[in-house]
Point group: C2
Chain length 444, copies 2
C-alpha cells in the first residue's frame, strides 16, 4: 500500500536567485516523549520500514536532501517529519506529524522570552487552546500564556480585528521578547503573523496551523496580512515564523468541506510539478480522506517541500511562482461571483483547475489521460469539478479581466503542457480556445 | 566664520556587528539644473572653497569617508551634500541642501514605477504639495501623482488615519510598483513609512522630511509606525526608504518652536559623541537659527552621520543605541506629565538633557564647563533648561519607573562622563544623586 517516491527530473525553468532551500528528514518518535530526529537514509527504501528515498537532487542552494515515503501498513506508528525551510538567519523548521502538541519540548524550544500570546478564534479555542497552553507551559513554570480569541471568519480578517490583538498585547504589557502563537487556519495565521510583524516593529512568531489549507499553503512563504474592504490581503508583511508545528491530529475536528478544500491545493502541487506525488495521491486519496495521520503527514510534507522550492526559485512572483496559482484565475472568478463564503477557496480552485486542464487539452498541450486523471482525483476528494450554475461566460470574462494576472491587457494563464507535472504561465494561446472552455462550462 | 571639522577619535565603546555604514560627499550644484556629485577631496580644506576634510576614520564596515565643512562666507552658493546610508541592498542616499525640490532629477531617479502617492497633511499640502508634484512630474509625463492629505497632529498618528492612506492607494488602484512619498514632519514620515511597508506587503518609499526633527532623526534608522491608544509607536515596521530628500528651504516656514525642538536633538549628538560638532554648534547657533541653508545643511548632515554610526554599531538597541536617548528619560516624564502636546518633544528633551548633565556633574563625572556650555547652547537656541512648574519629584519618579529604560528594576540613565563628547548608559550611580538632581529642578 505504501508508495515510495520516485526520482523525478526538474521540469520548470529554474532561476538561480534562490533564497529558500529545504531539507527534510524523517523521524520516528514512537513512545519517546521528545522529538527524535533520525537522519534520513537516502536511497535505502523498503516497504514496511521508515525510509527516505531521494526525491530529486539539484544544485545548491535549493537542497531537497530526501523525501519520506510513509509506511502505510503500520498506521498506528507515530511518524513525524521535519521540513527545514532554509532562509539563512531566518530559517525555520516545519514539524509535521500526529500528536506533536503532546510534545512540549518542540514548541518550547522556539519560544523566546517568557511571555506568549496565543491568537485563535471562537471555534478553535474550545478545541485546542488548553492543549496548546499546556504544551507551552508543561514543565516550564517560567512561561506565562495570554490569549486573544477572535471572531471566526474571513470577514473578520480586517484591521478592526487586528487591533484586538494589539489591544491584548499592550494591555498585558508584552515586550519585545514575547512570542505570538497563531493557533488556527489561514485567517488566524495571516492575522497573527502580521500582528507579530508589526507589534513593537516585530516579535517572535510561531504557527500552529489547524486546517489542511494553512498547513500546505500558508506555512511556507512568509506572507501575512489582512483584507481591506476593497481587496483581499492588501495590507501585510513578509514575516517568517520561528517554527511551524503541524499536529495532524487537529485535522480530526475539521469539517469535511474544509479538508477537501485543502486537498485541492495539494493536488495542484502534483499537477504543476510533481508527477510522482500526483500518482501517490491517486493511490492514497481514500487514506487521506480517512485522515490517516501518516498519509496526511506525507501529503503535507511533500506540499511544503514543493511550495518551498517554487518560492525559493522565484521570490518576486515574476513567473515560476505564479504557477502556484493553477486554477486560481478561473477560481477567483467563481469566488467573486458566487459571493465570497459561498464557495470555499479550495472548492473554487478545484473547479478552476478542471477548467485550466480542459483548456490545456483543447490546445493540444496535454493528452486526454491527464484531463481524466485530474477529474477523477478531484471527484475522489469530493471536490466540485465545474463552476456553479450562476456562472456565465460574461461573468468569467468580466472578473478574469481585472484579475491581477493580467499584464499589459494580456490574460496570462497557468496551463498544463507536456507530460504530467509540467505547466506553463503564458498569454500565448489561442483566444478562441479560452472561449470554448468557458462555453463548455457555462450554461449561457 | 567657517569652522572646518577637526579629526576626532572614536570614543564610545564600539561593537563589530555593524550593518549601516555611511559615506558622505559634498556637491556643488551652482546654477546647473542637475545634482552634480563632486568627489570629496579628503584632507584638502580651505575656507572659502568647497572642501571636504576627514572627520574620522575607522575600520570597515562603518565608513565615514569624509565630512563637509560648509562655506559660511558665501551664503548664497548652493551647497548640497549627500550622506550615503550603506545597508547592503537596502542602501540609500540622504540628499541635503537648499533648493533640492527644484531639481526634479533627484527625486525622479528614485521613483520606481509610474505611479506615486504623496502622503502629507493639511498644514504642509498648501505649502509644498504643488512643488513636490512638479518635481515628480517635471519633464516626465509618464508619472502620475496621487495625494492623500491627512489631519495634522500627533493625535492622528493612529490606525484610523493610516487606513486613509490605504483607502487612497486602493481606490486609485496602485500596484506593487508604485512609490509612496512622505512629505512632512516625523508624524507623516512614520505613518507613510509604515503604510509603504504594509501596502501589498511593501512598496517603494521616499522621504521628504520638512521639520528639522524629521531631518536629523527619523531620516536614519528605518523606524516607522503609529501610536496605540495605550502607547506611542507600538505598531510599526523597520522599513528603509529609496532615498531621503532634505530641502532645507522647507524649514523657512517652520514655526520657531519646532525648529528649536529639532535643535535639541542636534545638540544631543554633539554631547554624546561629537565634541567637534558641539563646538561648531556653539559657534554657529545664530546662523542656524537664522536658517542659513549652509549651516542647516551641515548640521543635518553631521547629525545623520552620527545617528547612522550609532545605529549601525548597535542595531538591536542593546546599549550604545540607547545613548541616542540622552535627556529622554527625564524628558519623557515631562512630556507625559505636562500633557502630550503642551511641550514639544525636543523641548522636553532639552530640559531633560540639562537634568542629565546636572546629575553627571553632581556625580563628579564631568567638569563644570560642560554643564555650563550645555546650558548656554540650549538657551541660545531658546530651548527650556528646566522642567515646568507642574513637575514634582514624585511625578518624575513615578513616570521614570515605568520608562522602558528600566531593566530589572534598575533605572539606567544616559549620563555624560569624561571629556565633552563622552557618555555612558548605566544603572551604576549613587541613587541619592538622582534625588538631588530631581529636588534641584522641582519646587516640591
Ligand atoms: N499566507 C499564505 O500564504 C496563505 C496561503 C493560503 C491561504 N491564506 C489565507 O488563509 C485563509 C484561508 O484559510 P483556511 O482555509 O484555513 O480558512 P479559515 O482559517 O477560515 O479556517 C476555516 C474554518 O475552519 C475552522 N477551523 C480551523 N481549524 C479547525 C480545526 N482543527 N477543527 C475545526 N475547525 C477548524 C475555522 O475556525 C474556520 O471556520 C484566507 O484568508 C487566505 O487568504 C494565506
Ligand atoms: N522614525 C523615527 O526614527 C523618529 C524619530 C524622531 C521622531 N519620530 C516621530 O516624529 C514625530 C515628531 O515629528 P515632528 O517633530 O516632525 O512633528 P510633526 O510631524 O507633528 O511636525 C510638527 C508640526 O510642524 C508642521 N510642519 C511640518 N513641516 C513644516 C514646514 N516645513 N513648515 C511649516 N510647518 C511644518 C507639522 O504639520 C506639525 O504641525 C513623533 O511622532 C515621533 O514619534 C520618529
Ligand atoms: Zn490557493
Ligand atoms: Zn528624541
Amino acid at each position: 500500500m505504501a508508495a515510495a517516491s520516485s526520482p523525478s527530473s526538474l521540469h520548470s525553468s529554474l532561476r538561480s536567485c534562490s533564497k529558500i532551500s529545504i531539507t527534510s528528514h524523517l523521524s520516528f518518535s514512537g513512545s519517546s516523549p521528545g522529538f527524535v530526529k533520525i537522519p534520513s537514509r537516502s536511497g535505502i527504501c523498503s516497504v514496511g520500514r521508515i525510509c527516505a528515498a531521494p526525491l530529486r537532487s539539484q544544485a545548491n542552494p535549493v537542497k531537497v536532501s530526501a523525501s519520506a515515503a510513509p509506511v502505510m501498513d503500520k498506521p498506528d506508528s507515530r511518524v513525524s517529519t521535519v521540513v527545514d525551510v532554509d532562509l539563512g538567519n531566518r530559517s525555520y523548521p516545519i514539524y509535521i506529524g500526529p500528536g506533536l502538541l503532546d510534545e512540549p519540548d518542540l514548541l518550547q524550544r522556539h519560544v523566546h522570552g517568557k511571555r506568549v500570546l496565543v491568537v485563535t478564534n471562537t471555534t478553535i479555542a474550545p478545541l485546542y487552546l488548553d492543549k496548546v497552553t499546556s504544551a507551552l507551559t508543561h514543565g516550564n513554570e517560567n512561561i506565562s500564556v495570554e490569549s486573544v480569541i477572535l471572531p471566526d471568519g474571513e470577514q473578520y480578517k480586517n484591521m478592526e480585528t487586528l487591533m484586538k490583538v494589539f489591544d491584548k498585547a499592550i494591555e498585558t504589557r508584552l515586550d519585545r521578547k514575547c512570542t505570538f502563537v497563531a493557533l488556527g487556519g489561514g485567517v488566524i495565521g495571516d492575522m497573527c503573523g502580521f500582528a507579530a510583524a508589526a507589534f513593537l516593529r516585530g516579535v517572535n512568531f510561531i504557527q500552529i496551523p489547524t486546517t489542511l489549507m494553512a498547513m500546505v499553503d500558508s506555512s511556507v512563504g512568509g506572507k501575512t496580512g489582512i483584507n481591506h474592504p476593497l481587496g483581499k490581503n492588501m495590507i501585510g508583511a513578509f514575516y517568517q515564523p520561528q517554527c511551524v508545528l503541524v499536529d495532524t491530529d487537529t485535522l480530526n475536528t475539521l469539517r469535511e468541506r474544509e479538508l477537501a478544500s485543502g486537498i485541492a491545493e495539494v493536488v495542484k502541487y502534483g499537477l504543476i510539478r510533481d508527477a510522482a506525488f500526483f500518482e501517490w495521491l491517486e493511490n492514497n486519496m481514500h487514506t487521506l480522506l480517512a485522515r490517516d495521520p501518516i498519509a496526511l503527514s506525507y501529503a503535507i510534507k511533500r506540499s511544503c517541500e514543493n511550495k518551498a522550492e517554487v518560492v525559493s526559485l522565484d521570490e518576486k512572483e515574476s513567473g515560476l511562482r505564479a504557477t502556484l496559482n493553477l486554477g486560481h484565475t478561473f477560481g477567483h472568478a467563481i469566488e467573486t461571483q458566487a459571493g465570497y463564503g459561498q464557495w470555499l477557496h479550495g472548492e473554487a480552485v478545484a473547479a478552476g483547475t478542471v477548467m485550466a486542464v480542459d483548456m490545456s487539452f483543447r490546445l493540444g498541450w496535454i493528452d486526454e489521460t491527464i484531463k481524466k486523471r485530474t477529474l477523477d482525483i478531484l471527484q475522489l476528494a469530493k471536490l466540485p469539478i465545474a463552476p456553479p450554475d450562476v456562472m456565465t461566460v460574461d461573468k468569467f470574462k468580466k472578473t478574469m479581466a481585472v484579475d491581477k494576472k493580467v499584464a499589459d491587457g494580456l490574460l496570462r494563464l497557468i496551463l498544463l503542457k507536456g507530460p504530467l507535472g509540467n505547466c506553463v504561465f503564458t498569454g500565448d494561446y489561442d483566444r478562441n480556445v479560452l472561449d470554448e472552455t468557458l462555453r463548455a462550462f457555462c450554461k449561457s
